[in-house]
């Protein structure tokens, strides 16, 4: 049994979380979150992959050809959209925080609040 693609997904998640925990800059924090979320793309695509399968588009291949799972691909489409929008809001918040506290270091935001 080949678990390498799943291990890649797990690795991306771990690296992303590590980035979030040790981040010294809000933009770096948001990008680490994006890396962590990229693990879901790898996981979903790996689960739906069929050895030798074609893309699930029957425009130029006859019906009945083995294809990869279209359901997880549609789920991933949702995933990409949500990730993009969440990063946009988080980056807007980062700009706001920098303007307000004069620093983009997550550790220093708490100190400055009081």
């Amino acid at each position: 049994m080949n678990v390498a693609p799943y291990a890649v997904a797990a690795w991306l998640l771990l690296v992303g979380i590590y980035g979030v925990v040790t981040s010294r800059h809000l933009v770096h924090l948001v990008l680490s979150l994006v890396v962590a979320q990229a693990s879901t793309y790898v996981l979903l695509l790996a689960i739906g992959y069929r050895t030798g399968g074609r893309a699930p588009i029957f425009f130029d291949i006859p019906p009945g050809t083995p294809v990869v799972d279209p359901v997880v691909q549609a789920l991933m489409l949702t995933d990409v959209v949500v990730e993009a929008t969440v990063s946009a809001v988080l980056l807007a918040l980062a700009v706001q925080a920098h303007k307000r506290f004069g620093s983009a270091d997550p550790d220093r935001l708490g100190e400055l609040r009081g």
């Binding site: 049994m1 080949n2 678990v3 390498a4 693609p5 799943y6 291990a7 797990a10 690795w11 998640l13 771990l14 979380i17 590590y18 925990v21 040790t22 790996a46 689960i47 739906g48 992959y49 069929r50 050895t51 893309a55 699930p56 588009i57 029957f58 425009f59 019906p63 294809v67 990869v68 799972d69 279209p70 359901v71 691909q73 549609a74 789920l75 489409l77 949702t78 990409v80 959209v81 949500v82 993009a84 929008t85 969440v86 946009a88 809001v89 980056l91 807007a92 918040l93 700009v95 706001q96 303007k99 550790d107």
Partner: protein, 251 residues
């Protein structure tokens, strides 16, 4: 907590999580052999029932049509949220000063950059419309095409003669496009309720599978999504670019 302590705790916790994830991976379907029964079941459903050749479009806009509606509204509210956050903090006079300085800066944008931007914008626009229009046939659709369309507009913004997407009229146009796209999707969902008895149910003729106008409501939904995604991305990125330029002026 000092960074070193935090790092040590994080590494220990992540090591534990990593082991748990690896154990969990062993229970997943063997790579290359998907187990889900829907992987094969949705294909005849898309091809014969919805008359679309892209099974992904069939899943996104028919089987998961309601989910996609929710996703549309997430995109809409996130764009609105980011815009409100970014606008609330920029004082109007600052913005006006910055725009004047932009005009000075604009003169300094090298002519080849402007020329390349102008030359690429047209083909990108055509490509975006093509990808949106063929969403039910080939890979692509409203989400992907909308981003391509947005990049065409942003190219004009970034490389063009500072034709301001923000501030003047086009800003309200972008906002209107975003709202119209989201509204159109909701209306089509309600149209199914009115004309076919269930939300998101098809109520348009299916046409011939494989032709440009086929798949009933799916091409219309793709167009609505394309307009909304394009509006949302242009709105978010132009607001963020404005911020970048205001910052630049401050420095």
């Amino acid at each position: 907590m000092s960074p070193a302590v935090r790092r040590a705790i994080a590494l220990a916790a992540l090591a534990g999580l990593g082991v748990a994830l690896l154990v969990a991976c062993l229970g997943l379907p063997d790579f290359g052999h998907p187990r889900g029964p829907y992987a094969t079941a949705v294909i005849p459903l898309s091809l014969d029932h919805r008359h679309v050749t892209s099974a992904v479009a069939g899943v996104t806009f028919d089987i998961r049509g309601i989910d996609t509606l929710g996703e549309e509204l997430i995109l809409f509210s996130a764009a609105v949220g980011a815009t409100v956050l970014l606008r609330s903090q920029r004082a109007e006079e600052d913005a006006r000063d910055a725009i004047e300085r932009h005009h000075e800066l604009a003169e300094r944008t090298p002519a080849p950059v402007r020329g390349l931007g102008a030359a690429l914008a047209g083909p990108l626009l055509v490509l975006g419309v093509y990808i949106v229009a063929h969403g039910q046939l080939t890979p692509g659709g409203g989400f992907q095409g909308g981003v391509v369309l947005a990049s065409a507009f942003l190219l004009v913004y970034a490389a063009g003669h500072f034709i301001r997407l923000g501030r003047v009229k086009p800003e309200s146009l972008v906002e209107a496009a975003e709202a119209a796209g989201a509204g159109a999707y909701v209306l089509i969902a309600l149209g199914g309720l009115v004309f076919a008895g269930a939300a998101m149910e098809n109520f348009l003729p299916y046409g011939t599978t494989g032709e440009l106008l086929s798949g009933g409501t799916i091409p219309v939904l793709n167009a609505a999504v394309g307009v909304e995604v394009c509006g949302a991305i242009v709105l978010i990125l132009s607001e963020l670019l404005d911020q970048a330029m205001l910052r630049h002026e401050d420095a």
